[in-house]
Amino acid sequence: MSMPQDPAPRLERDILAMRVAREFNDGDVVNLGIGIPTLCSDFVPPGVQLLYHSESGVLNCGPLAADGQGNVDLINAGGQFLEPVPGMSFFDSAEAFAMIRGGHIDVTVLGSLQVSATGDMANWFLPSRGVGNVGGAMDLAGGAKKVIAAMEHNDRTGASKIVQECSYPLTSQGCVSLIVTDIAVFNVDENGLELIEVAPGWAPENISAVTDAQFEVAHDIKEFELL
């Protein structure tokens, strides 16, 4: 596959996470997926206090435990050990997902294999493997009030992860309302994609060249807003 030349470097994962973190409002209940989404907690704006939810069964959970300090009875959904913090609460899996399905999560940030022009998400099944982990992805994508897809714009082969229609099996239909990649930010609704921000040095036509989906360009398009 012959790829166009990038006009400027793609952003680091930290910058991407920093951009996502701007979407959090004070008091939001937030569930962060594994990978890039997890990084967002390092960049929460000052004055914004969040309640972190993990489908492992803990609310208001905190940072990872120091190496070797872990407790097998205090893990996040990725199986990592957490540090206890004041104000936590514990609950079982039925309750953890009652919270998710019931619309009690304000924002979830999820990585994805593909996101479609109408906000469909596909992130649980790689056909080449023949077996996949759905985990809590379908519940989160369908249940959170706001779903942000945070991912690299293109996969390792250069293929666009933003697509007109997902070719991989869906996680949830029309669930994504914001896509943040390492070169662009899109609003998403049932009418399609709107490019609202670009990485420094990237123009809409550069984005278009590496994106397999049509999109509108916002009249007030900006460079990545990090503050």
Binding site: E55, N71, L74, I75, G79, D92, A94, N133, G142, P169
Partner: protein, 240 residues
């Protein structure tokens, strides 16, 4: 004679599990909340053609998921490697990485084992429903996806929802922190996970605990699983 659900040994606790049984196995996937001793006893006991219901199908061995560095994970893999499992129902059956296959994935790829993948929240809710006498419910989760193929769906308030059935099992092997003799259980931290709903949804619920205390020694406000749901409790004599 006061009610006493305690059983002396793990062997005795699982001795009547027959070939072909459906067995819920609690926990989230890591060391916490996993009934290791009961699973080891079940390997020794040898029942075959089992249907295993769990959040994972044993992902810790290749990934260390939820296990302290340096410890050797024990999970569903020991049953699969022993050829006891015919079918798995799970939300997270394989490891996160295609290059690190768990025992389940190897057996699945050899065509030796059947798989039903269920979204984690739907799995938990189906188990809760099974325990709560709810034969079926609708959920928006998975609507319009491959996992809902062939299932009935219906629109409520403009949202497509899928009909899901309550799920029960012959046995539930669960892991709690403490039990009293009436079978009241308390858990530690995130180890409630699937243990709590599974406790309610099996014909025979067997709880592996750190310690069995006298009835009255657990604060009634702190009980997570009331004894009504528990048939047998068995304590770890020593640390694993």
């Amino acid at each position: 004679m006061p009610i006493d659900k305690s059983v002396s040994t793990f062997e005795e606790a699982v001795s009547d599990i027959p070939d072909g049984a459906s067995i819920m196995i609690g926990g989230f996937g890591g060391a916490g909340g996993m009934p290791h001793r009961l699973m080891l006893a079940l390997v020794a006991q040898g029942a075959r053609e089992l249907t295993i219901i769990g959040n994972t199908a044993g992902i810790a061995a290749p990934t260390g998921f939820g296990w302290p560095e340096g410890e050797t994970p024990i999970d569903h893999a020991i049953l699969i490697e022993n050829g006891q499992v015919a079918k798995v129902i799970a939300s997270f059956p394989v490891s996160g990485s295609v290059s690190r296959q768990n025992a389940f994935e190897q057996a699945f790829n050899r065509g030796e084992i059947e798989l039903e993948v269920v979204p984690q929240g739907t799995l938990a809710e189906r188990i809760r429903a099974g325990g709560a006498g709810i034969p079926a419910f609708y959920t928006p989760t998975a609507a319009g996806t491959d996992l809902a193929k062939g299932q009935e769906s219906r629109v409520f308030d403009g949202r497509e929802s899928v009909l899901e059935l309550g799920m029960r099992a012959d046995f539930a092997l669960i892991r709690a922190h403490k039990a009293d003799r009436v079978g009241n259980l308390i858990y530690s931290g995130t180890s409630r996970s699937f243990n709590m709903p599974m406790a309610t949804a099996a014909d025979v619920t067997i709880a592996e605990v750190d310690e069995i205390v006298e009835t009255g020694d657990i604060d009634p406000e702190r009980v997570n699983t009331p004894g009504i749901y528990v048939n047998r409790v068995v304590a770890r004599a020593t640390d694993r």
